[in-house]
C-alpha cells in the first residue's frame, strides 16, 4: 500500500494541481501585495515549465533560499507575518514554494488540503456570490483531482468530474443542515480582529468639506427592507451622528450623559424595517428618523443616536421601528445650554441679519421661515466644489461665497438659529436612497450622505429643518446622479421613475437584489437569526447544546439515507432467468469447467460440449432457453422459466 500511496505522480496530475492552485489564489490579486502575487505565479510557472520539460526539482538550498525570501517579502510588505492579510500572503507564497517539491502522492494530498485553506482565506476579504461560485468550481476541480489519483485506470477527466460533482451535490444537503443548525457564537473565540483598512462612512464631526469624499463614493452604505410600504422620499432621513458644539469651524457631538432619550409621542404609524449595514469599522448604526427604541446590542443616546456595543467589522443586520412624525416635550437645562452654545467668531453682520428676521416675529417659526426664505431667495448655489473658506467659514459662506454643500447650509443655519435663541443641533446621516423594485428594498449609498438641523420648538420638541431643501429641493426628492456628477458644476439629480431607468441600471438593480438576499440569508446569518429561525419554527426550546447534538445527528441521518439508497442500487437486480443460469453455471458437474468471466452462454455451451460430449445436448438446450428468455425479446413467463429450471434440473451428472 505504501508503495502505491507514495509512488511518484504523473506529471499531468502535478500540472493539474498547479493550475488549480493558481485558480484558487487568483482572487488574492485584489487582496494581497502585488509582489507576493507575482512571486507566487512565477513559482507556478516555473513548476509547470519543469513538468513540461520533465526536469528535476530545484535543489534543497534553493528552496530554503526561496522560503526565506518569501518570509522577507511578506514582512517587508506588511511589517508582520501574522494577521489575516500577512498570514494569507505567507500561505500563498509557501504553497507556491510547495509546488517545487510536488512529487509524491503525499505531497499532492498535503498541497491539496492547504489549497482548501487558501480558498477559505479568500472569504475573509470578499463574500460575493460570484467569488463563491468561482471558488466552488475550484473545489470541484480539486475534488476531481483527488478522484483521479485514486483511479486505477486513468479514465477521462470528464469521468472524474462527474463522480466528484455527484459527491459535491450529495454533500450540499449536509452542508445546508450544518449551516443552519451549527450553533453560532456571539463573539469570536479569542480576539482575532480583521486588520482594519481605511474607515468608511460618516464621521462624528462636521466641517466644511467633510462630505466631499463620501458623496463621490458609489459604495453602498446600507440596505433597508420595509415591512410595509416605504416612507416617501422626503421622509427618508437616516439618522447618524448629532453635533452640538461648534468652535466656529468644526461641529462635534457631546458625550452621552447616559440618560436615555426623552419620551416621544408618535403622530404616525410606526415604520418597521430591517437594515443590512455594510461594515463601517465604527460603532455607529443608522436608523430612520426617529428611532423608537434601541436594539438588543446597542444603545439609544439622549439625542437619538444608535450606538452599537461592538465595532461593526462585518455586515450587520438589525430590525428597527421608527416614527416619521412625532412630538416631544421638556428640554433639559443642559439641552438648552448646549443647544444655544455659540462660537466666538460670530460677526456683527450675522447678528444684524438675525435681528432683521426677529423683527416683528412673535414665534420662532416665523424666524425659521424667514431664514429659509433668505437661503431660497438670495443667490445661494448647491455645489460639491465650493470655494475654499478660511478664517470664518460661516460668515464667509453667508455673505461672500454663497456656494456650498449640505454641511455649509446646516452649519450656517444652526449658527443663525442659535443667535436667534432657538436651540439648534446638526444631524448627519443619509437622505433618500434608491428603491430597488426588483428586490423591494432601499439601497442607500455613501453618495446619499447628508446633514440637516433640528430646532427646538416648545410645542413640538426637536423638529427637523433641512436648509439644503430650501436651496435645492430636488436633493430631497431624488438622489444625486453620480453619473452626471461633474466637479465644480451644479449637481445633477437622478430623474425619478423606473420607466426612465436604462437597461444596464436595471441589470445592476437585479444583481443588487440577488446580492441583498445573499446578504440577508447567507452572509449575515448569525446567532440572532438562528434564534429567530428556531422561534419561528416553534423550536425555540432548543438551546446551544441541543443545536450541537442536531449538528451531529442530522448529517449522520442524511448520510444513512444516502448509504441506504446507494446500497439498494448496489444490490443485484438480477432477473430470474439470470439467477437460474447462474445456478446452472455453479452446478457441481461443471466445477472443473467454470464459466469464464464475460464468456457468452453459447460459447460456454460449446466448451462444455467439447469437454463432455455426453452433456452437449443439455448444455445447448439450456443456452438456447436462456438466450431466448434474456435476449429474445419475448415476454418472460413463468412457463418459460419453469422450462429452463427443468432443463437445469435434468442436466446429466
Amino acid at each position: 500500500m505504501r508503495q502505491l500511496l507514495d509512488s511518484d505522480l504523473p506529471q499531468s496530475q502535478i500540472s493539474r494541481l498547479t493550475l488549480l492552485l493558481g485558480a484558487a489564489a487568483l482572487p488574492h490579486f485584489n487582496n494581497l501585495a502585488m509582489a507576493v502575487m507575482i512571486a507566487f505565479f512565477i513559482m507556478l510557472a516555473i513548476r509547470l515549465w519543469l513538468s513540461q520539460k520533465g526536469l528535476g526539482m530545484p535543489r534543497r538550498w534553493l528552496k530554503v533560499l526561496l522560503a526565506l525570501a518569501g518570509f522577507a517579502v511578506v514582512y517587508l510588505n506588511y511589517g508582520s507575518i501574522a494577521g489575516h492579510i500577512a498570514g494569507g500572503a505567507l500561505l500563498t507564497l509557501m504553497l507556491g514554494l510547495k509546488t517545487m517539491e510536488l512529487q509524491t502522492r503525499r505531497d499532492l494530498y498535503l498541497t491539496l488540503f492547504l489549497t482548501y485553506f487558501l480558498i477559505i482565506t479568500q472569504f475573509l476579504f470578499s463574500q460575493t456570490i460570484l467569488l463563491t461560485l468561482y471558488l466552488l468550481a475550484v473545489v470541484w476541480g480539486l475534488t476531481a483531482l483527488l478522484v483521479s489519483v485514486n483511479q486505477v485506470q486513468r479514465t477521462t477527466d470528464r469521468d472524474a468530474l462527474r463522480v466528484s460533482g455527484a459527491m459535491l451535490l450529495q454533500s450540499i444537503p449536509i452542508m445546508a443542515i450544518l449551516f443552519v443548525v451549527f450553533p453560532r457564537l456571539d463573539g469570536p473565540l479569542w480576539s482575532m480582529r480583521l486588520d482594519s483598512t481605511a474607515q468608511s462612512g460618516l464621521s462624528d464631526q462636521l466641517s466644511p468639506g467633510s462630505f466631499d469624499r463620501l458623496v463621490q463614493s458609489r459604495e453602498i452604505a446600507f440596505r433597508a427592507m420595509f415591512d410595509g410600504p416605504p416612507p416617501p422620499p422626503e421622509q427618508r432621513y437616516w439618522r447618524g451622528p448629532v453635533m452640538w458644539q461648534s468652535d466656529g469651524r468644526t461641529w462635534s457631538g457631546v458625550q452621552n450623559d447616559w440618560r436615555g432619550p426623552p419620551d416621544v409621542i408618535p403622530e404616525s404609524e410606526p415604520v418597521s424595517y430591517q437594515i443590512i449595514l455594510e461594515p463601517t469599522r465604527s460603532r455607529r448604526l443608522l436608523a430612520l428618523d426617529l428611532p423608537a427604541g434601541p436594539i438588543p446590542d446597542a444603545t439609544l443616546t439622549h439625542d437619538f443616536q444608535l450606538i452599537s456595543h461592538h465595532q461593526i467589522h462585518s455586515r450587520k443586520r438589525y430590525e428597527m421601528v421608527s416614527h416619521t412624525t412625532y412630538r416631544m416635550e421638556d428640554l433639559t437645562a443642559r439641552g438648552w445650554e448646549l443647544g444655544l452654545q455659540l462660537p466666538e467668531n460670530v460677526t456683527p453682520r450675522m447678528r444684524e441679519l438675525v435681528a432683521e428676521w426677529q423683527h416683528g416675529a412673535s414665534d420662532p417659526r416665523q424666524v425659521i421661515e424667514r431664514a429659509l426664505g433668505y437661503f431660497r431667495e438670495q443667490p445661494f448655489y448647491y455645489t460639491l466644489e465650493p470655494p475654499l473658506l478660511r478664517q470664518n467659514p460661516t460668515d464667509q459662506f453667508l455673505f461672500e461665497t454663497r456656494r456650498g454643500f449640505c454641511e455649509h447650509y446646516a452649519a450656517a443655519f444652526a449658527t443663525l438659529m442659535r443667535i436667534a435663541d432657538i436651540p439648534t443641533r446638526i444631524v448627519a446621516g443619509y437622505q433618500g436612497g434608491e428603491f430597488n423594485t426588483l428586490g423591494d428594498y432601499l439601497i442607500v449609498r455613501q453618495s446619499d450622505a447628508h446633514a440637516w438641523t433640528e430646532v427646538w420648538l416648545d410645542d413640538q420638541g426637536w423638529t427637523r429643518i433641512d436648509p439644503t431643501a430650501a436651496v435645492a429641493p430636488s436633493r430631497i426628492q431624488r438622489s444625486i446622479d453620480y453619473d452626471l456628477l461633474n466637479p465644480g458644476e451644479e449637481i445633477a439629480f437622478r430623474e425619478g421613475g423606473a420607466g426612465t431607468l436604462d437597461f444596464m441600471h436595471r441589470v445592476n438593480l437585479l444583481a443588487d437584489a440577488i446580492n441583498a438576499r445573499w446578504e440577508l440569508w447567507i452572509i449575515s446569518y448569525n446567532n440572532s437569526s438562528q434564534t429567530l429561525l428556531l422561534y419561528n419554527l416553534g423550536l425555540d426550546f432548543i438551546k446551544h447544546s441541543g443545536l450541537m447534538m442536531l449538528s451531529a445527528i442530522l448529517p449522520l441521518a442524511l448520510l444513512a439515507l444516502l448509504a441506504w439508497h446507494m446500497a439498494r442500487r448496489n444490490r443485484t437486480a438480477v432477473d430470474p432467468e439470470r439467477r437460474l443460469y447462474d445456478r446452472f453455471c455453479a452446478l457441481s458437474q461443471l466445477r472443473e469447467l467454470p464459466r469464464a468471466p464475460g464468456e457468452g452462454p453459447r460459447d460456454y455451451a460449446q466448451r462444455i460440449a467439447n469437454h463432455y460430449p455426453d452433456k452437449a445436448q443439455s448444455a445447448k438446450r439450456i443456452a438456447d432457453q436462456y438466450i431466448a428468455l434474456r435476449y429474445g425479446g419475448r415476454e418472460t413467463t413463468q412457463q418459460h422459466l419453469d422450462e429452463l429450471k427443468q432443463s437445469i434440473r435434468e442436466f446429466p451428472s
Binding site: L4, F117, L124, V139, Q151, Q170, S171, F182, P188, M566
Partner: protein, 328 residues
C-alpha cells in the same frame, strides 16, 4: 492492473486492527467451497479513515475554528461542504466494496521457486462500476482492478512458491480507497484458492571428474542394452536410461553411460533407485527425470512409497506424476 506490495493496511490503528481482525475472524462465516462466490455483505465490510483522512479531518477542524473566530459564514459553508464531502466519500468507499462477489479460479501448478499465479474473479452485480478494488493475501502481492457495472473482472495474485505441496495463499483481503483516499473499506473472503507446487527439478550438474566405470549391470533397468561403452558428461537429448544414477546419487552430477546397442522407450522411475539421499533431493531428481522423459516422449512409470503410477505418456500423465511428487 497494478501490482503493489502486500504491506499492512494503511489505517492508523494497525495494532488495534491486528487484535480486531482476530476477533473478526471468529465471526467469519465458514469457508466456502471453491467456485462458490463469497459475497461481501454489509456485515462484512469494515471501514476506517486513512492517514490522509485524519489529516483531512484535522484541516476541517482548523477551518471550523477559523470560521467561528472570524464569524465568517462562507468559511462555515466551505467547511461544512468539505465535511459533507468527507462523509459522502465514506459512503462511496463503503459502497464500492459492498455486495462484491468473489471467487477464486484454478491456479496453474508451478515448480518451487516459480511464481504462483492465482486468478480471482470479482463479480459486480450492481448498477454502478466499482473502481480500484484491491486484493491482498498474506503471502501474495496485492493487485488493483476495476469491475464494470453488471460485469466481472479477473485479477491475479502473485506469490513465490517456496515449498513443495499445496500452496494456499491464505485469506484474501479485499479493500478499496476509492474515490478520495480518505477512507479505506475492506473485507475478508476465504475463497479456498490453492496452487499445487511441484518440487524443483534437480539441476543438470557439471560433469564429474574422470571416473572409472562401475559395474555395467547396475547401470539401469533398461532392457535390451547392448554393450556398455563408458561414461561421458550428460548431453541434452540423452535418454534417461543412459544416466548413471549412482553417480548422480553420489552427487557427481549427471553422467550418461554410452551404450552401443538399441534403446528401448520404456522406463520406470523408482524411488528405491535413489537410496541414501534425503527425500527432497530424491523428489527433485525424480521431478527432473519425469520432465526429461516427457520431453523425449518416452513412456515411463513412477513408483513412490505407497504410490504407483502406471506406465504412460503425455501431458496428463506428466502432471499426474508431478502432482504425486508434489503431494508426497
Amino acid at each position: 492492473m497494478k501490482a503493489t506490495n502486500p504491506i499492512t493496511p494503511d489505517t492508523p490503528f494497525a495494532s488495534l486492527g491486528a487484535r480486531a481482525s482476530a476477533w473478526l475472524r471468529a465471526r467469519m462465516p465458514t469457508p466456502r467451497l471453491r467456485g462458490d462466490p463469497a459475497v461481501l455483505g454489509h456485515r462484512r465490510v469494515y471501514i476506517l479513515p486513512t492517514r490522509y483522512g485524519l489529516v483531512y479531518a484535522g484541516c476541517l477542524l482548523l477551518m471550523l475554528i477559523g470560521s467561528i473566530n472570524y464569524q465568517n459564514n462562507l468559511g462555515y459553508m466551505l467547511t461544512f461542504l468539505l465535511t459533507g464531502l468527507g462523509l459522502v466519500a465514506m459512503v462511496h468507499t463503503w459502497r464500492n466494496l459492498l455486495g462484491l462477489a468473489v471467487h477464486g479460479g484454478r491456479a496453474e501448478p508451478v515448480f518451487v521457486g516459480q511464481e504462483a499465479c492465482f486468478p480471482l474473479y470479482l463479480d459486480n452485480r450492481g448498477k454502478r462500476p466499482r473502481q480500484a478494488i484491491r486484493a491482498d493475501a498474506p503471502e501474495a502481492a496485492g493487485m488493483v482492478e476495476d469491475v464494470p457495472a453488471n460485469d466481472s473482472a479477473r485479477l491475479f495474485l502473485h506469490a513465490g512458491a517456496r515449498r513443495r505441496g499445496v500452496f494456499r495463499p491464505g485469506r484474501i483481503t479485499l479493500s478499496t480507497l476509492y474515490p478520495l483516499g480518505l477512507f479505506r473499506a475492506w473485507g475478508y473472503v476465504d475463497t479456498g484458492i490453492e496452487c499445487l507446487v511441484y518440487p524443483t527439478p534437480a539441476p543438470i550438474g557439471d560433469p564429474p571428474e574422470q571416473e572409472v566405470p562401475g559395474g555395467n549391470e547396475s547401470g539401469g533397468k533398461g532392457h535390451g542394452v547392448d554393450d556398455f561403452l563408458g561414461l561421458r558428461p550428460y548431453r541434452a537429448g540423452d535418454s534417461l536410461k543412459q544416466i548413471d544414477w549412482k553417480a548422480l546419487a553420489r552427487e557427481r552430477g549427471l553422467v550418461s553411460k554410452e551404450f552401443g546397442g538399441d534403446q528401448t522407450r520404456r522406463i520406470a522411475l523408482d524411488w528405491e533407485l535413489l537410496p541414501g539421499i534425503d527425500t527432497e533431493t530424491r523428489l527433485s531428481l525424480l521431478c527432473r527425470f519425469v520432465l526429461l522423459a516427457d520431453s523425449q516422449q518416452q513412456h515411463y512409470a513412477l513408483k513412490l512409497p505407497g504410490v504407483h503410477i502406471a506406465e504412460s505418456h503425455g501431458e496428463k500423465h506428466k502432471h499426474a506424476c508431478l502432482a504425486a511428487l508434489a503431494r508426497f
